[in-house]
């Protein structure tokens, strides 16, 4: 793609010898800005790779068990939640640990990415004030580091999932990968939003824990979505609506469809739920997930870009 220099087309020359081709108008301007951004991002890929490596190295370094340590949280959480929700409060799903961890890993990916990203601009103030590079690589590096972590964790846990849910888990791997791909786009948008907004509104990092606590319980990680719609009291119907609208629900359900299988209501009082093996996603669910992913990405990125102009003054 080329753009005209002064002297051609609608471009007029400006005082001071400014190359007017840099400020075209209308859709061309947007197309140009997007293309420039893409070239810039493509050129920054090495930086992204290095930052992701840094994240992973710093995280796993200095300990012989490295990666295994970071598996401790999900495994421990699974153990605790399994005891609580199968022995004390009963959530009637088969293989609760498999059910829980298939949703929890996805949730952790979202939460940890945002947690890393929210400090990525404020914490790198010195760098931002001294060197130019596309700022979005900072939050994105956290997302990709967490993505690699998620994939490793799934690899480690896959024998267990196959053992409990059957070979269908492997057969329906594309479902899982699709869910993770869409989730990555979604998380990138959310992470950039948190990173950008935290620069001017530092209270956000204090609110972060609360936001994610509420969001966690509003997402069907511990409980199946089918149980909510089947059992919730009339007066709290809005809760079911909120949970259903929550974009994280869409991604957790989609990933769980590939890793664990479907859970649906039976209408029976004694055994209200029934679960099926991993399956292919339906078009509506995929469409909704794609919609949320793109919406979050575009909005998050736009807010971030707008904010990033003045990062060097504000961090």
């Amino acid at each position: 793609m080329v753009v005209e220099a002064p002297g051609g087309g609608e471009v007029t020359s400006q005082p001071g010898g400014i190359d007017a081709a840099l400020v075209p108008s209308g859709p061309r301007r947007i197309a140009l800005a997007v293309s420039i951004k893409l070239v810039e991002l493509w050129r920054a890929r090495e930086l992204l790779v290095q930052l992701v490596r840094k994240e992973l190295k710093v995280r796993y370094r200095n300990s012989a068990l490295g990666f295994l340590w970071s598996m401790l949280t999900p495994v421990l959480m699974t153990a605790v939640f399994s005891v609580v929700f199968t022995q004390i409060v009963r959530i009637p799903v088969d293989d609760f640990p498999a059910f829980f961890i298939s949703g929890y890993l996805v949730w952790q990916f979202l939460q940890n990415s945002c947690q890393g990203a929210i400090h990525s601009i404020v914490g790198n103030g010195e760098l931002i004030k001294k060197v130019y590079f596309p700022r979005e690589v900072l939050p994105l590096s956290h997302v990709f580091a967490q993505l690699i972590h998620l994939l490793l964790a799934l690899l480690v846990l896959s024998p267990y999932l196959v053992y409990t849910r059957g070979l269908d888990v492997l057969v329906h791997l594309p479902t899982t990968l699709l869910a993770i791909a869409l989730l990555t786009v979604f998380v990138s948008g959310i992470a950039m939003w948190f990173a950008g907004v935290n620069v001017i509104f530092r209270d956000l990092q204090e609110l972060f824990v609360v936001i994610f606590q509420v969001w966690f319980y509003a997402t069907p990680v511990i409980y199946p979505l089918a149980l909510v719609t089947a059992q919730i009291d009339e007066r709290f119907a809005w809760v079911a609506t909120v949970i259903a609208i929550n974009p994280a629900t869409v991604f957790v359900e989609l990933a769980r469809l590939g890793l664990y299988g479907s859970v649906s209501a039976t209408g029976d009082v004694v055994a209200p739920l029934t679960d099926g093996p991993p399956a292919w996603p339906n078009l509506v669910a995929t469409g909704v997930a794609t919609g949320w992913a793109l919406l979050a990405f575009v909005l998050g990125y736009l807010v971030f870009l707008r904010r990033s102009r003045t990062f060097a003054k504000e961090v």
Binding site: V3, G8, G16, L22, V39, Y132
Partner: protein, 439 residues
Amino acid sequence: MSADTPRRSLGQLAGAALDPTQPAIVVDQVTETFRLYHERPSGLKERLYRMRRASYTDFNALEDVSFTVQHGESVAVIGPNGSGKSTLLKLLARILPPDDGTVLTNGRVASLLELGAGFHGDLTGRENIRLNGAILGLSGAEIAERFDEIVDFAGVGHLLDTAVRTYSSGLEVRLGFAVAVMVDPDILLVDEVLAVGDAEFQERSLERMRAFRDEGKTFLLVSHDLDAVRDMCDRAIVLDRGRVVFDGPVTEGVELYRQRVATRSAPRVDRQRGARQVAIDEVVLVGADGRAATEVPPSANLAARIRLRALTHVEVCSVGMVISRGDGTHLYELHTTWQGVGVGPLEPGQEATVEVRFTAHLLAGHYALACSVTDASGRETWAVVVDAARFAVQPAPGGAGLVDLSATAVVTDGPARRTGDGLVGPIPLSRLQRRQARG
């Protein structure tokens, strides 16, 4: 769209490639404003109360700055602290967007604003070279290609696989510099980094920058080191309070800066701090005519009149005087006891006046006088007035620099010719005045 219309590729627009038909740098009517908050609201109550009324002042770090730099030019940006030099460099490096006006750079820009930016202590030297290179915009292949050269230049070969947190600070800076200069940009921006590292490394750094300049690359240096500026650059832009006050040949710019700007130091503080035994009541600088001197021609005869008052009984004391240039350069110091003269004995309340006569063999600039009273051995200081008096030496034809050596030039062998009326000095004051009148 005719066939011969010059086109810019996307790579050029994204700053990746160079378009030789356009200037290297265009800065057009740029203003950069910083918002200085007087008081940051802290508590929640206060924050709610002042939600819409945070008090601040807008401060223009740069005001209506315009200039163009062609490919291959080496430009120095000089000016006192707070004149907007670093802000300008940040605009050129795209770290800050201009609030008003346009900044265009043509080609790949690398900045040495901070060495080792983004070094991570837990990573090894090897990993940090890769990370730092990537931050500065190198691709993986480019880093691999230049890796050995970087290691060699920084001299960190034996520590390559050691965490950078164990490096000495000098070594870290060296490594940072080595990576930064390997970027091989079309436009290099340098901010005050000549003063790092040991002498040998400094020499190598300067050499590297000279080589860069001689390759015909565009080079922009911000520095207070006027000698380095003169050595490295052909053109100088003098900034003062965010405005361009001079843009022209480097020798003129440096001279102007020396005379006009560097020497205008911070606001006067002629308070006397905690005098013991003897207080300095008054310091006056008088000219040959006996009247207070503020602006004098070069090599004028001056006298510093220092009036003392004893606070207790003083057997003997010494009065000292220091003359320095506005930027703090120590020029001359004298204590009366060095010439075998002491003041005393003095009774409490008794006054004495010391007159130090001297010829100010100085060239155009602003100078300050400091006075002190010490015991006879000079070990104990009793009273100091840091900024006791100031004077300016007027520009005059003849020489340029700091000291008036009253040199004369004669052609002893070969034909000579009179070129002018002798009033055309090296001092670009007339040019400056014309410039200001135009602006």
